[in-house]
């Protein structure tokens, strides 16, 4: 477990989140924002798992799992809303 | 075959999911037995309520030939997925952004809804293609770099060997 390696990983994830946030703020349409949110969700899931490893708590993985499930439901809900079925 | 629910199949699947979710490392054995007991009760309750909604072949899915096809499908899928992502990384990082997008139409010979679902998911995760909709046997695919607009030729390029392998699993 090399701590500098984790600094590197966290910086890469931070740059990714910044780029995703740019699209989330700018995105001309609702769908663009939803796509950005979807990508950010995946990055956040990875980040939650990384936090679980760094703090050595197995139970934190459940947070990542529930987050992934809720994000999927959120994306499908947005899709249904855009299609006019909600 | 189609539309015949299988109670046992749903129960086993729900129980496996339950055990995977409640498992934790260094778990004492009596605790595992508790989880197993509760899991069986929950799995029975869930499948009593929902097994009518799950249609398909039931326990026949666990036939060795189908499982072998599924494993082959899985490895081909992983290989294609890595290839797709390297391709996508190349497109994204090249300064000129070489894209030529469009929506093409392909036909599939698969009949079952679950087989179509797997095919659609596999297409979405592989080289530059994304399933948008199904209308009957026709699938509409968004393609980052359109190589052919003809349904037959495009279908051959996009589906690759997925359709054959999935046909082995589901039919």
């Amino acid at each position: 477990m090399n701590i500098y390696f984790f600094y590197l990983i966290i910086s890469i994830l931070a740059i990714s989140i910044a780029l995703g946030l740019y699209r989330l703020v700018k995105g001309p349409s609702v769908s663009d924002r939803a796509v950005a949110l979807d990508a950010l969700t995946n990055v956040t899931t990875a980040l939650l798992v990384l936090i679980a490893v760094l703090s050595a708590r197995f139970i934190y993985l459940d947070v990542a799992l529930v987050y992934a499930i809720l994000a999927f439901i959120g994306v499908v809900a947005i899709a249904r809303y855009l299609e006019g079925g909600l | 075959m189609e539309g015949k629910p299988s109670f046992t199949y749903v129960t086993i699947a729900v129980l496996a999911v339950w055990l995977g979710l409640t498992y934790s490392p260094h778990m004492p054995f009596n605790m595992f037995l508790q989880e197993l007991g509760l899991g069986i009760i929950v799995a029975l309750a869930v499948s009593v309520l929902t097994f009518k909604n799950f249609t398909g072949l039931g326990l026949k899915y666990l036939h060795p030939r189908r499982v072998a096809y599924f494993i082959a499908f899985f490895f081909v899928f992983l290989k294609e997925m890595v290839k797709a992502n390297l391709n996508m990384a190349r497109i994204v990082l090249s300064p000129s952004l070489p894209v030529k997008p469009g929506i093409v139409e392909i036909e599939t010979g698969l009949k079952q809804p679950s087989a179509k679902l797997f095919l659609g998911n596999a297409i979405t995760l592989t080289p530059g293609t994304m399933t948008i909709d199904y209308r009957g046997d026709k699938a509409y695919i968004h393609w980052v770099y359109v190589e052919s607009e003809d349904p037959k030729k495009a279908g051959e390029i996009i589906k690759g060997s997925f359709e054959k392998l999935l046909g082995g699993v589901f039919q």
């Binding site: 590197l8 890469i12 990714s16 699209r23 769908s31 979807d38 990875a46 | 994304m130």
Partner: protein, 111 residues
């Protein structure tokens, strides 16, 4: 010895995964229209999650099963969400990029 080796392999996978996140979000910013953005971000971040979680699992071997469940779930749901969103956006009236070469979906609308 073998644990150290697994550690290094895991670190490699984690690095690959986070680089794919980076590529995906670069694609999200650079691509010209919604559908291309969706392609770039969905695919790369899905493989990113898979690679990242497998890497962490190789570092902490006793966590591997649960991490594989999370990865399996993400790989199963990401394309469904993307397809649903793409179809909904199309029906909502979001146009393809003006340089797109073909649109069979629109042509087949009236059958």
């Amino acid at each position: 010895m073998i644990e150290e080796l697994l550690d290094y392999i895991g670190m490699f996978f984690v690095l690959i995964g986070s680089l794919f996140f980076l590529f995906g979000t670069i694609g999200l910013v650079r691509m010209p229209d919604l559908y291309n953005r969706m392609q770039a971000s969905t695919k790369t971040t899905t493989l990113g999650v898979l690679s990242f979680l497998v890497g962490i699992g190789l570092m902490e071997l006793s966590w591997l099963i649960k991490l594989l469940i999370i990865a399996f779930f993400v790989v199963l749901t990401a394309p469904i969400g993307a397809s649903a969103l793409a179809r909904a956006s199309y029906k909502h009236g979001i146009k393809l990029w003006k340089k797109s070469v073909v649109d069979k979906y629109k042509e087949g609308k009236n059958d």
